[in-house]
Amino acid sequence: MSNMLEIRWHGRGGQGAKTASLLLAEAAFDTGKYVQGFPEYGPERMGAPITAYNRISDDPITVHSNIYEPDYVVVVDESLLDVVDVAAGAKETGAIIINSEKAPDAFQAQLKGYKGRVYTIDARKISMETLGRYFPNTPMLAAIVKVTGVLDDETFIEAMDKSFNHKFKTKPAVIAPNMEAVKMALKEVKG
């Protein structure tokens, strides 16, 4: 299935990588795509490395395994680069997106000869400036959308507005700051 996009998320428990993968699935679904969003459940503890996945396609998706050769990899926590081989199997036609204040070329050594594109985004700064707390998943979600182009900015913003209005029905005060984080992140991906 050549038009199937496969994305692997690396995060730490509590950072919302699973939620981000589900939000991405929802947003892509809203544009008529076939989607999968699923976490790999391990020992679920705050801070433990976790993996989540997305498949997005124009055709029905039947594969139900984890993703071993992702087109794109999202690293929600920079410190994972010392612990997890995030580039394992990653396709060189794709990209790796890292949450970091550093420039992309600072990661060449840690990515073990990965030859695809590398992007960074300072999700901490965006999150602190908009939400006042550290929730890196929303900026990272915007970053993967920007880099893959799986949705155009406008469609994505609309989809997120809908999602947040539903997700935060009981705490509407956080909707606007989250939307601000999305919009800021779309502009601040460095690659």
Partner: protein, 392 residues
């Protein structure tokens, strides 16, 4: 009109239960089935159903309460996984022999130990002879559809047996995928009200009396007849369901099997991964095919034998191990079903995916490669094999 949505398997099953609006739901939480009663409890809280929700203190009580509610004349539902199902074990047989059509979703998870929360089929396979209809889903769509159809089958007067809606823990239960939901009124019209011929609140009947050697055996014989009738009932309601939804189901599903020389027989979500692999192999000219078991109880033995008779080599995949040095449940039953054929394919058994070991497309490819080797060599040698073991 169908409604397109994106849902996890557990969400989809909880929505099916809301649409059915059963009289009683009694459940105790266990991963990965917990979300089913959790979502359903929110429907109760929000007044979306009229159900009496009984938050019991154990799975044994969940099944006991479901049986009692069903005997009283209510439509009763529950959900569980793994050791929760094991704790119900005693009561599973009581549900079946009392002919109470309790509807249970079994979100498949391995039975401990070692302690593990992940998917395999050792829980429901351990209960395969308890007298329950067992149907397995590949996707969230099938988990949803199987529950709706299963309710009709279980309550058919010619059947009156409990129904187990099995789907893979996490892989299906927690993955968000596309799905088509029926409208609430369509479900209501399809499933209808539950009006049993006999019920404690309706007529003077006895449930659970002592049955000496004078009656016990005959009761079992009657259960066997109900299970036999379930096959025809499944086919009947699959046809009715297709008229409403356009979704075609049968006792099992074949995929590119008609002209296949090499075939896999598999249950659950791995069938999807195998279909993907079959497509890749077909592009390379390999005549690969697939038979996906949907209905395991009753076991459609004649139909399976007919579907596999012209295949050269077959790998039967079991996501459970019998530890009997002979073969796992699906293998033994498929092998037995083929015994009366004049010419039989080579048949081998693969144990796979135990305790959530991920099943990759490359694993499935290796099975087809092995099958091609068997055909070439003209012998199967060791028929009891393990796929995806770390030491291999």
């Amino acid at each position: 009109m169908a409604k397109k949505d994106k849902l996890s398997g557990n969400e989809a099953v909880a929505i099916a239960m809301r649409q059915i609006n059963p009289g009683v739901v009694a459940a105790f939480p266990i991963t990965p089935s917990t979300e089913v009663p959790q979502y359903f409890a929110s429907f109760v809280n929000d007044g979306l159903v009229d159900t009496e929700f009984v938050p019991v203190e154990s799975e044994h009580s969940a099944m006991s309460a479901s049986i009692a509610a069903s005997a009283a004349g209510a439509r009763a539902m529950t959900a569980t996984s793994s050791n929760g199902l094991a704790l119900m074990y005693e009561m599973l047989y009581i549900a079946a022999s009392s002919r109470t059509p309790v509807i249970m979703s079994c979100v498949n998870r391995t039975i401990s130990g070692p302690l593990n929360i992940h998917n395999d089929h050792s829980d429901s396979m351990g209960a395969r002879d308890a007298g329950w209809i067992q149907v397995y889903g590949e996707t969230n769509q099938e988990a949803y559809d199987n529950l709706l159809i299963g309710t009709r089958v279980a309550e058919d007067p010619s059947v009156m047996l409990p129904f187990m809606n099995c789907y893979d823990g996490f892989i299906t239960s927690h993955s968000v995928e596309n799905i088509e939901l029926m409208e609430d009124d369509e479900v209501k019209a399809f499933v209808g009200d539950y009006n049993p011929q006999y019920a404690l609140l309706k007529s003077p009947v006895a449930y659970g009396p002592f049955a000496h050697h004078t009656y016990h055996y005959e009761t079992k014989r009657h259960q066997a007849e109900g299970m036999k009738n379930a096959k025809a009932a499944l086919v009947k309601y699959y046809a009715e369901f297709e008229k409403i939804t356009g979704r075609h189901y049968d006792l099992f599903e074949t995929y590119k099997l008609d002209d296949a020389e090499l075939a896999i027989v598999v249950i659950g979500s791995t069938a999807g991964t195998a279909k993907y692999t079959v497509d890749r192999l077909r592009e390379k000219g390999v005549k690969a095919g697939l038979l996906k078991i949907r209905v395991f109880r009753p076991f459609p033995k004649e139909e399976i034998a007919k579907a596999l008779k012209d295949v050269k080599a077959v790998a039967v995949m079991d996501k459970t191990c019998s530890l009997n040095d002979a073969g796992a449940p699906l293998f033994l039953e498929v092998r037995s079903a083929l015994y009366d054929l004049e010419t039989r394919p080579y048949l081998v058994n693969y144990i796979y995916g135990l305790g959530g070991r991920d099943v990759k497309t490359s694993d499935i490819e290796s099975v087809y490669r092995d099958l091609a080797d068997i055909v070439k060599a003209g012998r199967a040698d060791d028929v009891y094999r393990y796929l995806g073991l770390a030491e291999e």
